[in-house]
Symmetry: C2
């Protein structure tokens, strides 16, 4: 089970310690640059779409099974599968974002807390009850 | 970027061709068996929780960049990143499900369209606007 990057995040956020924990917590917009070899897989994505970006959190620790949620030592140790901690056996990030613009093989997206250089491994449309009848 | 299975789906669905396209389209409940080595990462997950299960769709084709959405030839070819097609460069499945029961290192979850034997690579709590203030 080998992931290949399909793109990369280009963001003004350069350090993990300065990134918010979720996109909704004050994160900026960023560019998602898709590799030219897979750019045609973007066909059908347009400004205004809600998508989920899957990233590989390459700074994360994979040997951590319990954390204090939100790095708050007052909270009891909790299994990482019950949290959104980036430290987990397979550090895949899920980022629901809005597409602001599409410029060839680049998507302007946000808000997103992923830092500059984070590899992107997949992009999916958001499915919700209302959309199910029309989203492919 | 190497994924290691953290568990496996045990389902009555045995064939991809018989699986619904989404869990909400008549899929059954299933068991998610977590490897004993990472079982403590489940700590904090309880019956009634909404979680997202990430799977590795090991029967998918990774060289497909465009598909007819929902396998309907009348629909125009669309980039896989604008669809939920299992065929895509990194065939990660996202399955929002409800936890029905927790029995040691096994979660009864559903509804879920993943077929029997599908490797599981991550489990995350669902974040939505209402929950953000209380979910870790």
């Amino acid at each position: 089970m080998q992931l290949n990057a399909i793109g990369v995040i280009r963001s003004t956020l350069k350090q993990r310690t300065k990134a918010p924990k979720q996109g909704s917590e004050g994160a900026p917009d960023a560019w998602l640059e898709v590799r030219s070899g897979v750019a045609q897989a973007l066909d059908g994505i347009a400004a205004g779409d809600e998508i989920v970006v899957l990233t590989w959190l390459n700074r994360a620790r994979r040997d951590v099974l319990k954390v204090h949620p939100r790095s708050d030592p007052r909270r009891p140790l909790t299994g990482v599968f019950a949290t959104r901690s980036p430290d987990r056996p397979n550090p895949i990030g899920l980022h629901p974002v809005i597409v602001r613009r599409v410029v060839k093989n680049r998507l302007r997206i946000g808000p997103i807390e992923a830092i500059d250089g984070t590899p992107v491994v997949d992009i999916k449309p958001v499915l919700c009850e209302i959309q199910k009848s029309r989203v492919p």
